[in-house]
Symmetry: C2
Subunit: 373 residues, 2 copies
């Protein structure tokens, strides 16, 4: 292929686009925040993604601009679009991933089920919401949060007092604490020309606010749940004009409703299983979608696939020993690393195992990942 | 991982090691013959692999040296080994892939079944072989042949007269024309420390001397054939001291014998199906093997996988249209391209399809590949 995809951001999501780009013959170029990042193999520029001049110079040489993260400012994105660049997902869609209040408002408009929520400007408004919702709630900073950062569970308005100070003049998002049975994630790929392909809904397990485990397809999900999740994903992708791969995190409630928790307009941790468990990985699918190429099959290749994140490790001189031990113990484990220096709780890789049974897959994936903890 | 693998040769086999190296965190460095080759993304040096100085400088910075092809001269390989470098496969093994007469002699010594053969120095010796084998035979130049080059089917010694001139003083290999039902290929991965993992035997279809189609696992192969093929592969790998991924091309005769046709001591076209059809692709397995890491599972992920080579195309301005048409028509097709400029008969990519049935896989893979012809 003769196409060039420019990825803003040099993290692991950009890194994991390198393999499918190489196979499809797509030239991938990465604007990395600094040298030595995860996607360094494809880094062709280094600089600040908030600086229009830097981004514009990078974008001049590619056919489409896409992202490793959702943090590129609206004014930069809109300037690229005004330049005539293809930007996917575009600024109109990305605003909903950049501001959780804007997202909640939009989902309310299009009638997608979500937790009760409010945008509050002062402690008394927050306390009123708490009083209406059993005395507990989740507060979120509308912007900049990820992996549990900018999210807090509270039982009184005072617990968010510092936020009202530091975000003075802005509203804070408060959401009811949902009585959920488990968390699910639905991915959908959408092309600019409209074609959409949903992946099977998966179960995600968070630990300390970070995605830790994914079971795909979601075990024991009813047909109704599978269809409903896909419909929610497709509806949001269409109504918000998302292009590329898109993920919606869902709560499955104890009374079998699905409520939208978060949106991600890029490849997502909940879709890493697709690298070894689906016909078309989310990274290949994202490249196809942003280039407006026909989408690939999202069918699973196995009965069950389990993804386990590697957090913190590997560190120290015995890294290679850990790889060898994990490989020896679990020959079916697919180990993916991000080339990152370790830090407690930091995602530095993940393990996928596809199998005939989710229990076998989970056992093998956890056992392999445990060698790196 | 902290390991650096140096690959001599910048062709598609080196290119296809990039994806698994990136996932495993292995740093891959390629000594390419020139700029702009298939593996350019990982090319860190350019130069002549026959030049010891060039190769030695390249090898100084890596943990192990391996290959995209088998053409590095013995004296260069042996100098690296004398330097203390890890070279896999090593010169003792590679000699059997570099010289078909040496290979035939060795297989005879270890008792592996092969076609009748002889090394002949003069037309009368060749004619005598022909007379003993029904008047027809295959002649091969012992060195430098690949993809049908250096191979000729003859019915009289005169048809090889030019070779006796151009290879004066050397022997030519002559082999009986085997009455085969089909061709099979057996891959085995072997680590320097001895662990071996055989892949399932596959059926290969050659067109004009070039691998065109692969069906994996080999359809309708008897249990005896599957076991015998694996035993032949394992025996050769062990007896010849092969390290890395190794392929043996086999004739399955009409009376169900298996005879060794060719050896390849590197990832091989007959193993491209493993990228989308096996738990561990041959490219990942090769990296693990040459680094002496525990080998991955070689189990298929589907009932059947079909690989179809893309020969010649794509060329011209409508390349992107061809990709789009192939993707639209066959959403399950995995398209792999080599970044090569097209030339009639030149392998520029391949398509894999994994499916519940080999007929479905073959149909979809052929249909997708046809868009590029």
């Amino acid at each position: 292929m003769t196409k060039r995809v420019g990825v803003i951001g040099g993290g692991q999501l950009a890194r994991m686009m390198i393999a499918p780009a190489s196979e499809l013959g797509i030239e991938i170029r990465v604007l990395a925040e600094q040298n030595g990042m995860s996607a360094k193999l494809a880094a062709t520029a280094t600089g600040d993604y908030r600086d229009l001049g830097t981004v514009r110079a990078f974008a001049a040489d590619v056919d489409v601009v896409t992202f490793d993260h959702e943090h590129v400012p609206q004014q930069v994105l809109r300037a690229l679009v005004d330049d005539g660049m293809a930007v996917h997902p575009g600024p109109d869609a990305l605003q909903y991933a950049q501001d959780k209040l804007v997202m909640r408002q939009k989902l309310a408009e299009i009638g997608v089920p979500q937790p009760d929520w409010a945008g509050v400007s002062a402690p008394d408004e927050l306390q009123a919401f708490l009083d209406d919702h059993g005395g507990r709630a989740v507060v979120k900073t509308p912007r900049g949060g990820y992996d549990g950062k900018g999210v807090r569970m509270i039982a009184s308005a005072e617990e968010a007092a510092d936020w009202f100070e530091s975000f003075a003049g802005e509203r804070i998002l408060v959401e009811e604490l949902v009585d959920f049975r488990r968390e699910l994630a639905q991915q959908v790929a959408r092309r600019p020309s409209g074609e959409m392909v949903p992946y099977p809904v998966v179960e995600t397990v968070q630990k300390h606010g970070v995605c830790a485990e994914v079971f795909a397809p979601a075990p024991r999900a009813s047909e109704r749940t599978v269809e409903l999740a896909a419909r929610i994903g497709v509806t949001i992708a269409e109504q918000l004009g998302v292009t590329g791969v898109f993920a919606v995190e869902l709560f499955e409630t104890t009374d079998e409703r699905l409520l939208v928790n978060e949106l991600a307009m890029r490849p997502h941790n909940s879709g890493h299983w697709t690298q070894d468990g689906a016909v078309t990985s989310q990274f290949e699918q994202h490249l196809r979608a942003v280039l407006d190429l026909p989408l690939g099959s999202a069918d699973p290749v196995a009965e069950a696939t389990c993804m386990i994140n590697i957090l913190g490790g590997p560190a120290g001189a015995e890294i290679d020993d850990r790889f060898a031990r994990a490989m020896r113990a679990q020959p079916s484990a697919k180990i993916h690393t991000y080339g990152k220096s370790p830090r407690p709780g930091r995602k530095v890789g993940h393990v996928n195992v596809a199998s005939d049974s989710i229990d076998d897959a989970a056992y093998a994936a956890r056992a392999a990942a445990a060698h790196f903890d």
